[in-house]
Symmetry: C2
Subunit: 271 residues, 2 copies
């Protein structure tokens, strides 16, 4: 029983973005171990179709199961929007995505019932955030805006650049005019642009980081199921990618609070 | 024999960029038929590693062979840089990439023996253009510059945008200072940014479009091998992609000189 509780949590994303979720798990649940998979050979997911994302997610889940994970976190908004229900129905371990925890926090915090959501084309077009929010409170107005250039800008490290500010201004102007009071950062890359988004949206808008909310929900879920790692557990983080490990490791070391010494490469198409 | 000569030419790219090559084949070799494959489920290739690109290229070649192609054009600079030699050695039909024709034209046209090359991170890091140019004339100075944001900007349709101009200015400044007189547009997306690049580089710099040069080389190669389509051949273009067909078809219709009515989707991982 203890062995199962100390089993790792599987966390996956299309690439490096999900590391913001792994970082929050590490902060909030420091005894838990994590097996992270980043699908760097097929990144990005944001502009790809639903059935392609479901196929990719199933392969990744099959891989994570070979690592005996006790739960799976879909740390990618696009995959959470497109594939969460499918993989949840096929598994007998807890599965958690980033959409519901982020949406829940926005619902709890909005005062004027006007919520904005920014994400990839896939996430915004899926309207899953809107559906989920309306399922809880149909009176809330949800305004979605795809920001397709944010991911490449983050991956290029242009976090505090005039070009990023200009692009962000264009994307966010529409949302500012709509007087939203909560904005969901609906892509795991976006928390890295938080200061730029904060500056443009102003102090009056609550920025919701689903990575943070997901780690809270994960902790509650594990506790409720009696699956938290025990007090003497020694946390272990292992990283797997589908493409070059060095590029990933450099990025990961700039995000995670500890030094990542080893990243392993696998052929995900074999799963 | 005639049947073989009227067989299609297989053209592949990571996504839509290779359509600039298909367009040139259509202009210069109007009797030839083409089977085009765009790997939209795994796009982009530019930031991925050599062995991943070789694996992807092999799968695509196996797919194109099921269409009885008489020759293959690797209409992607990254795949040409990483995988051309490998797949050429494994096939008994002519294979042509975009790197050599582009490099050849730049060598023929430079007066001051200073050539610039812009492309994806993969293409520039591979140094294949440099190697090939030095193999012909070791006295030529080759200055490479990766432009990772050009592809997403083109895919977003921001061809004539102030942000694109600003980014291009930063990327190209370095090359301007180096007094190059020829610049190879080493990614199939870049000819779509030609007017912006022209404005920044000035009239004194010769812009080399490898798509154009590749179609010329292809015509010469087919003629030399007695493989040109016969004079009564009715050209046929068919399009295959690994992800959503509608998104591809919209982009393709903005590039090709005829209406594309049908695009077919396949699971490339099965090949």
């Amino acid at each position: 029983m203890e062995k199962t509780n100390n089993a790792p949590i599987g966390v996956f994303d299309s690439g490096v973005g999900g590391l913001t979720v792994a970082r929050e798990i590490n902060r909030q649940l420091p005894r838990e171990s994590v097996v992270y998979f980043g699908d760097t050979a097929r990144v990005p997911y944001g502009s790809k179709s639903k059935d392609t994302i479901i196929r990719y997610s199933r392969q990744i889940v099959r891989f994570l199961q070979t690592k005996d994970v006790k739960a799976i976190v879909v740390a990618c908004n696009t995959a959470s929007a497109f594939a969460l229900d499918t993989i949840e129905a096929e598994l007998n371990i807890p599965v958690i995505g980033v959409v519901k925890p982020g949406a829940k926090s926005a619902i709890e915090n909005t005062r004027n019932k006007r919520i904005g959501i920014i994400g990839t084309e896939g996430t915004i077009k899926s309207e899953l955030y809107t559906e989920y929010i309306h399922g809880i409170d149909p009176e809330i107005t949800v305004i979605g805006k795809a920001c397709p250039l944010f991911c490449p800008l983050v991956e290029e490290g242009m976090l505090h650049d005039s070009v990023t500010y200009e692009i962000a201004g264009r994307y966010l102007d529409e949302l500012k005019e709509q007087s939203i009071d909560s904005l969901i950062l609906g892509c795991t890359h976006y928390p890295l642009l938080r200061s730029t988004i904060r500056e443009i949206m102003g102090e009056g808008v609550n920025l919701v980081n689903p990575a943070y909310e997901t780690a809270i929900s994960l902790g509650e879920l594990l506790k409720q199921k009696g699956m938290r790692a025990d007090i003497h557990a020694k946390p272990d983080y292992t990283f797997y990618v589908s493409d070059d490990t060095e590029r990933f490791r450099r990025f990961a070391n700039s995000i995670m609070p500890f030094e990542i010494e080893e990243t392993n490469r696998i052929n995900i198409e074999e799963f």
